[in-house]
């Protein structure tokens, strides 16, 4: 049914031409398990999750705390690897990748937006946005140009030289979104992106995501807030480490 939701959105320059004839799903989880051992107790955070997300989708992953949605987000973001099962990101299996390879995948394929913004406090907004490009080895002039363009795209080009502490929460989250987008990633992964924002700023950030989706970006948003999830086009519900529902959002806004 996930395949049914594939929208033939085409995204500019998202994928090198001719990489594959038939575009595979951006995300394909197959019977994924994640176990943690906390001392003697073994916690099964994910229990056989299978999920496919196609290019251009806007998916919200919902669930109460303890449902495993954070674990899912870590796996999707290649911050962690599954205990069992397969995870293909843009057709490549990430299981068995070295830390170095995972870092490269995070750098090129994934743009993170965190609840805590996670900007480096000593760096200006522009330098924060430059950071992933610095790890990608982009030269300095190009980095500056692209960071400026990304900040303008999220509407805070005039704040490029401010430090995070000089920006409002909403502005900080925009910087974080600019940072996530600047490498032109395959997947934009947002973890409770509005959790620390006042409602007005939250609405602006959600409008930004909607705009990105309209441009053809693949967006996965993790939240416990049905209001926020309602902005997505598809909602995946998680409970006790298992998917309990996976349905399109009725009546797109």
């Amino acid at each position: 049914m996930a395949e049914a939701a594939v929208s033939p959105a085409s995204r500019r320059g998202a994928r090198p031409a001719g990489e594959r004839e038939l575009t595979p799903p951006v995300i394909q989880l197959q019977d994924v398990w994640k176990r943690y051992s906390l001392g003697a107790v073994v916690v099964e955070a994910l229990r056989g999750v299978s999920l496919a997300i196609a290019e251009g989708e806007y998916v919200a992953v919902m669930g109460p705390s303890g449902s495993g949605k954070s674990t899912l987000m870590h796996l999707l973001g290649c911050l962690d690897v599954p205990t069992a099962g397969a995870y293909r990101l843009a057709g490549r299996d990430v299981a068995g990748m070295s830390e170095r390879e995972l870092a490269a995948v995070r750098n090129r394929r994934i743009g993170f937006v965190f609840q805590q913004f996670n900007l480096l406090p000593r760096l200006s907004a522009a330098r924060n946005v430059e950071l992933p490009m610095a790890y990608a080895g982009v030269d300095r002039r190009q980095r500056r140009e692209r960071a400026r363009a990304a900040l303008e795209a999220v509407g805070i080009g005039d704040r490029a030289h401010h430090r995070p502490s000089e920006l409002s929460g909403g502005q900080q989250q925009r910087v974080a979104i600019a940072r996530a987008l600047v490498t032109d990633p395959t997947l934009l992964l947002a973890d409770e992106p509005t959790g620390n924002l006042a409602s007005g700023q939250a609405a602006e950030v959600l409008a930004l995501f909607a705009g990105l989706h309209a441009q053809g970006r693949t967006v996965v948003l993790i939240t416990h807030d049905p209001e926020v999830a309602g902005h997505a086009r598809r909602v995946v519900r998680l409970r006790d480490g298992e998917i309990t529902a996976d349905e399109p959002v009725p009546g797109p806004r």
């Binding site: 911050l79 480096l120 992933p132 790890y135 940072r179």
Partner: protein, 411 residues
């Protein structure tokens, strides 16, 4: 991440915590300055000892009565009375000793000196005119002893500069009379200033003809009558030292009817032996001081490790963010290593500057020369960076090993 970018990131991190970085750098800085100064002091002392011994006279051999024992200890000067003027005369024979250029017999004892109301005590040496060239000394006022003075047993004296200023504080000494142990002597010359060696002040002495000394001051009677305190010899050249040593040894053994060198009742000491003893003493001291300085460097290094570990713990979220954005473990390790070695480098450069400043100031305060050793300065800076790297490895690999989710989760 490229090297320039890594260095820039490290610089921003260090500059962002100025006082902490500064204090850590201070630990290294003090250690490096201490190393540079102690090495400089050691080298200065060594150079001074070498210079002082060279000033004793080139190609010098000293024959003293008494024998070296198995342990290398020797009876004090004059503890045996086995050297005579006859020995000295025989050594002057170019036939037996072709490699000996000059011979000066010496009798020596300390005497009370007086000139008017001024009194002083100094070693009085009865010797011959050969003494001055052998010891590399000269006369700055008046004249030295002459062969005629020795032949006639004249009551004349050549005095060291310190004796001169002590007995004649108002100036001119030549032509005045001094009492040596109650015997009047006419001052005919004043020696040049030579400074002090490790064991004797070369400016605090009185030279008189050896005949006068033996007749009027030392050994007029008793068992030591006619015996010498030492015989000073100079070889024809530094290369002839070995031959001169052998000739002296052989001739004196023969004159004293001693069959084997092991039973010799005299000791021949080449000046080079003094030199090596003196430099080994100051060398040992240098090693000790450098050891102490090295310990302070070690402590500085532990300071770097401590601060870097604190930094890793404190910046756990930053590390997580960097990893999430694509920083590899080696990127993270390199960043922290560069920070640690940056602390080391700053300490090294600062320490070198402080050490050089100390080398300028210290000699004026303590009077000891400090010879800056440039290899030591360069080496210290390298060592300081090395300390940063070595003590940075553990914190850096801890940072590199952090799992990104653990790092991100912390608040």
């Amino acid at each position: 991440m490229s090297w320039p970018e890594t260095v820039r990131t490290a610089w921003e991190a260090l500059a962002g915590r100025r006082s902490r970085s500064g204090l850590t750098v201070l630990g290294i800085l003090i250690g490096i300055a201490a190393v540079i100064l102690t090495v400089g002091l050691g080298e200065g002392a060594q150079a001074r000892v070498g210079h002082a011994i060279a000033s004793l006279g080139t190609n010098l051999l000293i024959v003293t009565p008494g024998s070296a024992t198995a342990s290398g200890l020797r009876g004090g000067l004059g503890s045996a009375s086995t050297l005579t003027l006859g020995d000295a005369r025989a050594l002057q024979s170019h036939l037996d000793c072709p490699d000996i250029a000059a011979v000066a017999p010496v009798v020596q004892r300390s005497f009370g000196l007086a000139a008017g109301s001024n009194t002083w005590t100094a070693p009085v040496l009865g010797t011959t005119p050969a003494y001055l060239p052998i010891r590399n000394r000269s006369v700055v006022a008046g004249a030295g002893l002459t062969a005629a003075d020795v032949t006639t047993g004249a009551s004349v004296a050549v005095i060291g500069s310190q004796v001169a200023t002590s007995l004649f504080p108002s100036g001119r000494a030549v032509g005045r009379t001094i009492q040596v142990g109650g015997v009047p002597f006419t001052v005919v010359g004043v020696l040049n200033t030579a400074g002090a060696t490790a064991n004797a002040n070369q400016d605090d002495l009185v030279l008189v003809p050896i005949t006068t000394a033996q007749q009027q001051l030392i050994g007029r009677s008793g068992p030591q009558a006619g015996s010498l305190s030492q015989i000073l010899l100079s070889a024809r050249s530094p290369q002839a030292m070995g031959a001169a040593y052998q000739e002296t040894q052989d001739l004196l053994l023969q004159l004293h009817h001693i069959p084997s060198p092991a039973q010799a009742d005299f000791t021949v000491t080449p000046q080079t032996a003094l030199l090596s003893t003196a430099s080994s003493v100051s060398g040992t001291l240098t090693v000790l001081l450098v050891g102490i300085a090295a310990i302070s460097l070690l402590v500085g290094g532990i300071g770097v490790m401590n601060i870097m570990l604190v930094s890793v713990t404190e910046r756990i979220r930053e590390i997580g963010v960097r990893k999430a954005l694509g920083g590899t473990p080696s990127d993270i390790r390199r960043q922290f290593l560069v920070e640690a070695s940056g602390l080391g480098l700053a300490g090294g450069l600062g320490g070198a500057l402080l050490g050089l400043a100390g080398a300028l100031v210290l000699p004026q305060v303590i009077g000891n020369p400090v010879d800056i050793s440039w290899p030591a300065v360069a080496g210290s800076i390298v060592v300081a960076v090395g300390i940063g790297v070595v003590f940075g490895v553990y914190p850096a690999s801890r940072a590199a090993r952090l799992a990104p989710i653990d790092a991100l989760r912390s608040d």
